[in-house]
């Protein structure tokens, strides 16, 4: 546990130094959200889609940041060195997940706050929007951790985002209500975590309370645990 926290602190120290990345992570989702608010000014679009976007942007950003960060660790030789120390594989993955969750919390708070500022009106409880946005971001970083194990180069790492996130985006119900999709695609959407993230946010936008979204939140949490487990399982102490 100490080593997990030590690692999380180290990762945060690295991020803190990289001010431009921190600024991008926090400001970029706000800018995009602002653009949409401006475009659909005077319509209920922001109220309807705002919560979803508040959940989506952090997921995508965190996926990219985490997969690149861990790939960098692999390529710089620091991961190889870490694997000769008492640091457990679980400590490494959990340390990263924890550090990025901290960053994600700041991001979720700022983005939700900004969305309110530009006129987003959420029918459901606001704290739940923040919780789901935070979980989405953590899910993104855990998926990024697992995906980075598959990438051998920066090019591949960056492509993992469209490879893993886009199919989920297409089938999550954002482009077409899920019950109107071909049966097979509807089934497919059931096994993707993003579906539940978007569903929870759609319900919150429509005025759902905690009991209504508890199921979806639980599924997201399970996917986080699954992604962390996968991240640990794909980490190798011995490499060729």
């Amino acid at each position: 546990m100490t080593l997990t926290l030590t690692t999380a602190a180290r990762v945060l120290a690295q991020i803190r130094f990289d001010r431009r990345t921190v600024a991008l992570i926090i400001v970029l989702p706000c800018l995009l959200l602002g653009l949409i608010a401006w475009m659909f000014d005077g319509t209920p679009v922001l109220d309807q889609f705002g919560p979803m976007l508040v959940g989506l942007f952090p997921l995508i950003v965190m996926f990219l940041v985490t997969s690149v960060a861990t790939l960098r660790e692999r390529q710089s030789g620091t991961l190889e060195r870490l694997m000769t120390t008492p640091l457990g594989k679980g400590d490494f993955v959990a340390g990263y997940a924890l550090a990025f969750a901290g960053l994600a919390l700041v991001q979720a708070l700022v983005v939700v706050g900004f969305a309110l500022l530009v006129g987003m009106d959420v029918a459901g409880p606001l704290w739940l929007v923040v919780v789901v946005a935070l979980l989405d971001a953590v899910l993104g970083s855990c998926l990024g951790l697992a995906a980075s194990a598959l990438a051998r180069s920066e090019f591949q790492a960056v492509q993992m985002m469209p490879a893993i996130i886009f199919p989920q985006l297409i089938t999550c119900g954002l482009l077409m209500p899920r019950d109107e999709m071909p049966q097979v695609l509807e089934w497919l959407s059931r096994v993707f975590p993003l579906t539940y993230a978007v569903e929870a946010m759609q319900d919150l936008a429509a005025g759902a309370e905690w009991p209504d979204v508890a199921g979806a939140v639980g599924v997201i949490a399970l996917f986080i645990v699954g992604a962390v487990t996968l991240g640990v399982a794909t980490l190798r102490r011995r490499t060729a």
Partner: protein
């Protein structure tokens, strides 16, 4: 704990890398409390052997025993320090942030870590650079931070892959002095180099070539046996001799 008096015992090690046997049937011993030089041209398998000893090399067959335990055992991770050839530290952290992290990983409590960090900084002669980010240091300074990151946990066995590459002569001399000091305190060191002249700094020498042991000797024996005036020519003589003897090498010189 059976230790047989040696820090590292390698028997019949085979390592396959990229579909090719880079080490075949290697037997090597690293005695306790000595600086052992691992020398050989690039591509001779030095790094692969070191990775097998610290337990991160995949596709190994044979027996590698480190401090009485099989290489890579969880119990060894606190007792063995490894420095990779490229400086493996975080360039976006300061010298002290790096060292403190590795000190905590080595199991030092927060209080003891600071003293250990200060000692390690002093050993590698980086005083005054503590608050500097590693990315802004020179190449030689970076590799010293990397070395300090292994020293900070005060491990029983240090496996150092070319720690003196790119360093100036004064610093090289100081580091070798440090290595001998550590050995005098009972630590064991396996230090690789492709600069043959560094051989004279070691208590014992292992010469590797194409994944095979060409010599296991001392600097004095090496010079006496080959009659060469310096280490570099002595090695060339040994290599010529092993070439002439055909593919089987190592046996007669052991």
């Amino acid at each position: 704990m059976v230790n047989n008096g040696g820090a590292v015992r390698v028997r019949g090690l085979d390592v396959e890398r990229g579909g090719r046997e880079v080490i075949a049937g290697l037997d090597v011993d690293v005695p306790t409390g000595q600086v052992v030089g691992l020398l050989g041209p690039s591509g001779s398998g030095k790094t692969t052997l070191m990775r097998a000893i610290v337990g991160v090399q995949d596709r190994t067959r044979g027996e590698v025993t480190v401090l009485g335990e099989p290489a890579g055992s969880p119990g060894l991770r606190r007792r063995v320090g490894y420095v990779t050839q490229a400086a493996s530290v975080y360039t976006d952290l300061t010298v002290v942030q790096n060292l403190r992290y590795f000190a905590r990983l080595a199991g030092l409590p927060a209080a003891g870590a600071d003293a250990a960090v200060a000692r390690a900084v002093d050993t590698v002669d980086l005083a005054g650079h503590e608050k500097q980010r590693v990315g802004t240091l020179s190449g030689g300074e970076r590799s010293r931070v990397s070395l300090a990151a292994a020293l900070v946990g005060d491990p029983e066995l240090l496996v150092l892959d070319e720690p003196t590459v790119g360093l100036d002569p004064v610093l090289r001399r100081d580091l070798w002095r440090t290595f001998r000091g550590l050995a005098a305190d009972g630590r064991s060191l396996l230090v690789s180099s492709h600069v043959m002249d560094e051989a004279t700094q070691c208590g014992r020498l292992l010469l590797l070539r194409r994944g095979e042991l060409v010599a296991d000797t001392t600097p004095d024996e090496l010079l006496a046996e080959t009659g060469a005036p310096d280490a570099e020519r002595a090695f060339l003589a040994l290599i010529d001799r092993s070439e002439a003897a055909g593919t089987t090498t190592g046996e007669e010189s052991r």
